[in-house]
């Protein structure tokens, strides 16, 4: 080990180690502990003592064990070879670890994050003498069929290009260009560069958030849409479908790249993604979903401090692809586990706790994380976005706990999961009462261009009905539905129809699992039409029973299953038939 010794272990308490005899260590330095070479990060300095959080199990570490410093911060390697890979919380490739240590993750394994042998076909796009700076595209590597990996100058470098290699095959360690900096130093550039995970990558400026991230999930796109570059929280107790929702989004949302962070969750869920994604076909590119996915897995039984690091590792990778001009979506499942990791480490450092044992800096940390999302103009003038979709697991499903409450302050879109809906197996169990989206207004012009101005009216109409229904249900609970006039009972009818035929979506049905926006808008319009015309008919003297018995009703209920995205003409037919039925009814009572 070429690293210098920076001190010796003084005290071991779980993943937190106190180090004495500190010489020249710096904050957040990457360190290795003991003969076992356990990876850690220096998180506190106090005269000649320091605190290190270790990312592996510390069993067997004893006082006086040497601590080595790596001279740099905990960083990730950014370059070709990340897509389709599964990493642990500190970017060690789990597949490669498996080859070395079989079924269990042994300690002290050092393995490069990016494959050192693999050659990539690099096509340069700059020439000698060019003025280059952070973010300049040196050239490209076709990493997968759909992702053209742009090789960027590291954000902080600047100068004149002294040389660049011709088109050809290179590994991530081959020098591909040499830069002469302003103070006449030369610097080698590679296909990859490193970036510290706790530092946001620089950009030129933030752009407005006015394009929705289309997820194909009707309750989300139609009722509570999120913008590309936006932030969402999905809180819900266990069994309400957080992971199912996250996975559905990872499968179907129209981002170019997905970074899926399994943070302190179940091992089998990661395995599920690993077995399912390669088989699923991205409806837009026609390629396997794995070709646009990076997985970070730090399951609940893996070391808790690496769980703390995993979300920073994920977001840094996402920012790197954003800098190449891509729209990236980050799924963090679950941010509560990350907050608990903070709490555990804070407790072991004997810091003063604030609410429920969480450290007082919890809100700051949450804000820092969500602020790394955004739609940005990148250093090279391109534009890209990072959308963060964070699951929150509130204890006992109680949204008043600190992590949910603080998260709500820093996000702009909230999809609250409802226990009662989940119990009735109504999925996605996103509550239409608790949830909200602040992006709606900014994005309404996009929707108007895409599906017509009616969309916003229809949405407003149906949201109004859903809120009225809550009040009516309270009345029904007291006096029964018979006490209500038909016009009000019809509201209940329409809401039930809307819930069954529109909001509820079957992730396992080939057609229903994903709806394009045009289908959503049409379906919504049909249901709103049934409501408006039906209400008129009731006022003219029709009965509820008759409205329910019109033949087209069953077709409306089943349209989500029967009308495929590729051919929406079936919806026009349903609309026409509905119109005719209503006309007939009107004629009867005229």
């Amino acid at each position: 080990m070429s690293d210098r010794i920076i001190g010796q272990v003084k005290r071991v308490n779980g993943p937190v180690i106190e180090v004495m005899g500190i010489t020249d260590a710096h904050m957040f330095e990457l360190v290795r502990v003991g003969q076992e070479n356990l990876i850690g990060e220096l998180i506190k300095l106090d005269s000649d003592c320091a605190v290190v959080q270790v990312y592996e199990d510390t069993s067997g570490i004893a006082p006086y064990a040497p601590v080595y410093g790596a001279g740099m911060q905990l960083s990730v390697e950014l370059g070709p070879g990340m897509i389709g890979t599964i990493y642990d919380g500190i970017q060690r490739p789990l597949e490669a670890i498996r080859e070395m240590s079989e079924i269990y993750i042994k300690r002290g394994i050092t393995i490069p994050s990016l494959n050192r042998e693999k050659k990539w076909h690099f096509i340069p796009s700059v020439k000698e003498g060019d003025n280059i700076s952070g973010g300049t595209v040196l050239g490209t590597v076709q990493e997968t069929e759909n992702i053209l990996h742009k090789i960027l100058v590291p954000p902080l470098d600047k100068g004149i290009l002294e040389s660049v290699v011709p088109e050809g095959d290179y590994t991530v360690e081959d020098v591909i260009a040499v830069l002469r900096t302003d103070d006449s130093q030369t610097k080698d550039l590679f296909l990859m560069h490193k970036w510290p995970i706790r530092v946001q990558r620089p950009t030129q400026q933030r752009l407005p958030l006015d394009v929705p991230l289309i997820t194909g999930q009707r309750v989300i796109d139609t009722l509570f849409p999120v913008a590309k570059g936006g932030t969402v929280a999905i809180p819900g107790g266990f069994g309400t479908g957080k992971t199912m929702t996250q996975q559905a989004l990872a499968k179907w949302c129209d981002a170019d790249l997905i970074v899926y962070i399994g943070c302190g969750e179940r091992g089998n869920e990661i395995t599920d993604v690993l077995t399912e994604f390669p088989k699923l076909i991205d409806p837009r590119s026609g390629r396997s979903l794995m070709e646009r996915t990076i997985l970070i897995a730090n399951t609940s039984n893996m070391p808790v401090s690496a769980r703390e690091a995993s979300i920073y590792t994920g977001i840094t990778m996402a920012e790197y692809f954003r800098d190449q001009g891509y729209d990236v979506a980050v799924m963090a499942d679950s941010t509560s586990r990350w907050a608990e990791a903070l709490r555990e480490l804070s407790g072991r450092m004997e810091e003063m706790p604030a609410e429920e044992g969480f450290p007082a800096y919890l809100p700051t940390k949450i804000a820092e994380f969500y602020e790394r999302a955004g739609s940005m103009e990148t250093l090279n003038g391109d534009s890209g976005s990072v959308t963060i979709i964070g699951a929150v697991s509130p204890p006992a499903g109680d949204f008043s706990e600190p992590v949910t409450q603080h998260t709500k302050r820093f996000i702009r879109c909230f999809w609250g999961l409802d226990r009662n809906l989940a119990n009735a197996r109504h999925y996605p169990a996103i509550s239409w009462i608790d949830s909200y989206s602040e992006y709606l207004e900014e994005m309404s012009s996009w929707w108007a261009d895409q599906v017509g101005a009616e969309w916003l009216e229809d949405r407003t109409e149906i949201m109004g009905l859903l809120h009225k229904e809550v009040r009516l249900q309270q009345v029904v609970k007291l006096v029964g539905p018979d006490a209500l006039p038909d016009t009000q009972r019809f509201i209940l009818e329409v809401c039930t129809l809307f819930k069954n035929a529109f909001l509820q979506q079957n992730a396992y049905d080939k057609i229903d699992t994903f709806s394009i926006v045009e289908k959503q808008a049409k379906m919504l319009h049909i249901i709103v039409m049934y409501w408006k015309r039906g209400l008129q008919a009731i006022k003219n003297g029709t009965t509820l029973i008759k409205l329910r018995k019109i033949k087209v009703y069953q077709d409306i209920v089943k349209m989500k299953f029967t009308i495929p995205n590729e051919n929406l003409s079936g919806l026009d037919k349903i609309e026409a038939r509905l119109e005719r039925s209503m006309d007939q009814m009107e004629a009867l009572h005229a």
């Binding site: 003084k10 510390t58 069993s59 079924i103």
Partner: protein
């Protein structure tokens, strides 16, 4: 540095006299550098040996936790011997059919356990890429489980129960009846009892005996009158054997752990004595990670034939599912089987609450080729209809049954039949999956066909109309 190199020579060194004893914790100062989580032996004045592990190690003092309690120890006459290695147990297939204490020492009067394979009881995290996604349906013969909360081989599915509810009976019935259809693989059962009463342990032993599977069961007992601290190591010992049987001996292992609530209480006890900052209800902040270390040890591994299916039992304090123990468990396990006291009161066995119970792995283990093609939709429809029954019952309790619409009456009828015919069964009754599904259709017939939103027309024709 010198001391670091000498560590191996120093291990085995013994210290006479300790500085402080507080509950199960002993503080020793001025030792050689001692490794975190190292195994120690503590010898009292009479020469009796107790085991413990290092909880914290520093240049000033070492904190040691004694598993068998500290009763009778004195400050000057207690000797502590450091072993230089973690707590291990020796494991082998011969352990089936025998009874051990929480540390893996035999208590059935038989010879001590000897084997070449010594494993660290703490285990290691399974690499997620090495896992095999579980999808083999286990038929338990219990309708409400097979039909609506299907158990899958390699799953961790806890029973959330309450005091006085028949969770032990259900666990024993599952252990007795569980089978993979079309194969005659038998389950080896690893049973870990933490702080349960003698009668409960006896009940399980008798039940295994009666069904003739006792030679396939290894029992680890840390009963209510054993030192509470031993409970912390009991499930780890049991799971270490289970891992050996599953991944080295290619066996299918069912692990029953009861009662997880007692385990968590012991964890809280230690945490409080150490003066750690508590989170909810005095439980330590790492309760989630600690439970995950246990639950996540179940599963299946690529390239290995064996599996660990675990069935932890926990009694919810005051029947409160939002209590930290069931709450955190529910976040880790792959579903939960929830008992309802009200159903038990009405004499329904098993008293499994339809709505909060859930099996997360069910979706990939049922349907055509695995159970029957109508299973997914039928289960979904039963859930939806039963959920509405609950609403109707609430409404009926306010406005009276007479005021309900005819449709709501149908639902009430359906609800009664569902509970009496489908859910309810005898403690020795074993139903095949076909029987279970047919029963499901039979009770659905109490509803008009228009109400079956979640079932396809073909299925209605084939199963409902018949």
């Amino acid at each position: 540095m010198l001391e670091q190199e000498n560590r191996h020579l120093l291990s085995g060194r013994e210290y006479i006299g300790v500085n402080k004893i507080d509950g199960p914790l002993i503080f020793v100062s001025k030792t050689h550098p001692v490794g975190y989580r190292e195994l120690i032996e503590c010898v009292d004045a009479d020469g009796k040996v107790r085991l413990g592990i290092v909880l914290e190690s520093s240049t000033d003092a070492v904190v040691v936790q004694i598993f068998e309690g500290t009763a009778g120890l004195t400050l000057p006459n207690t000797r502590i011997r450091f072993s230089g290695r973690p707590l291990t147990i020796s494991v082998s297939k011969d352990m089936l059919g025998r009874v051990f204490n929480g540390l893996g020492h035999p208590i059935d009067g038989g010879p001590p356990q000897r084997s070449d394979i010594e494993l660290d009881v703490n285990g290691m995290a399974i690499n997620p890429t090495a896992r095999q996604y579980p999808r083999d349906f286990i038929q338990t013969g219990i309708s409400v489980i097979d039909g609506m909360n299907t158990l899958i081989r390699g799953q961790k599915l806890p029973i959330f129960s309450g005091n006085g509810l028949p969770h032990n009976e259900l666990a024993a019935q599952i252990a007795r009846q569980a089978k993979i259809r079309g194969t005659d693989t038998e389950f080896a059962v690893v049973f870990a009892a933490m702080g349960v009463k003698h009668d409960v342990a006896q009940f399980f032993i008798r039940s295994f005996e009666e069904s003739g599977v006792l030679e396939n069961v290894a029992l680890f007992l840390s009963l209510a009158d054993d030192p509470s601290i031993e409970r912390l190591i009991t499930p780890r010992t049991a799971l270490t054997l289970a891992e050996h049987l599953a991944f080295n001996e290619d066996m299918h292992v069912l692990v029953i752990m009861t009662d997880m609530t007692n385990y968590c209480e012991s964890l809280r006890e230690i945490s409080t004595i150490r003066g750690e900052i508590p989170s909810r209800k005095g439980y330590p902040g790492y309760l989630y990670s600690d439970l995950a270390e246990l639950y996540e040890r179940s599963g299946m591994i690529k390239g290995h034939n064996g599996s660990i299916t675990s069935l932890p039992i926990l009694t919810m304090p005051n029947d409160d599912i939002s209590h930290p123990i069931p709450d955190l468990s529910g976040y880790i396990t792959e579903g939960q089987i929830v008992f309802e006291r009200e159903m038990d009161g009405r004499g329904i066995y098993p008293p499994i609450a339809g709505l909060p119970s859930l099996s997360r792995l069910m979706k990939d283990g049922i349907g055509e080729g695995m159970t029957r093609e109508d299973h997914p939709h039928l289960a979904s429809q039963l859930f939806a209809a039963y959920s509405y029954v609950k609403d109707v019952r609430n409404l009926a309790s306010v406005i009276g049954e007479e005021e309900l619409t005819p449709l709501d009456h149908d639902y009430l009828e359906f609800g009664r039949e569902f509970e009496q015919k489908f859910v309810s069964q005898r403690k020795d009754e074993e139903r095949s999956i076909e029987q279970t599904l047919n029963l499901g259709w039979e009770v659905l017939k109490f509803l008009p066909v228009e109400e079956l939103h979640r079932i396809t027309e073909e299925e209605i024709e084939k199963f409902y109309g018949a």
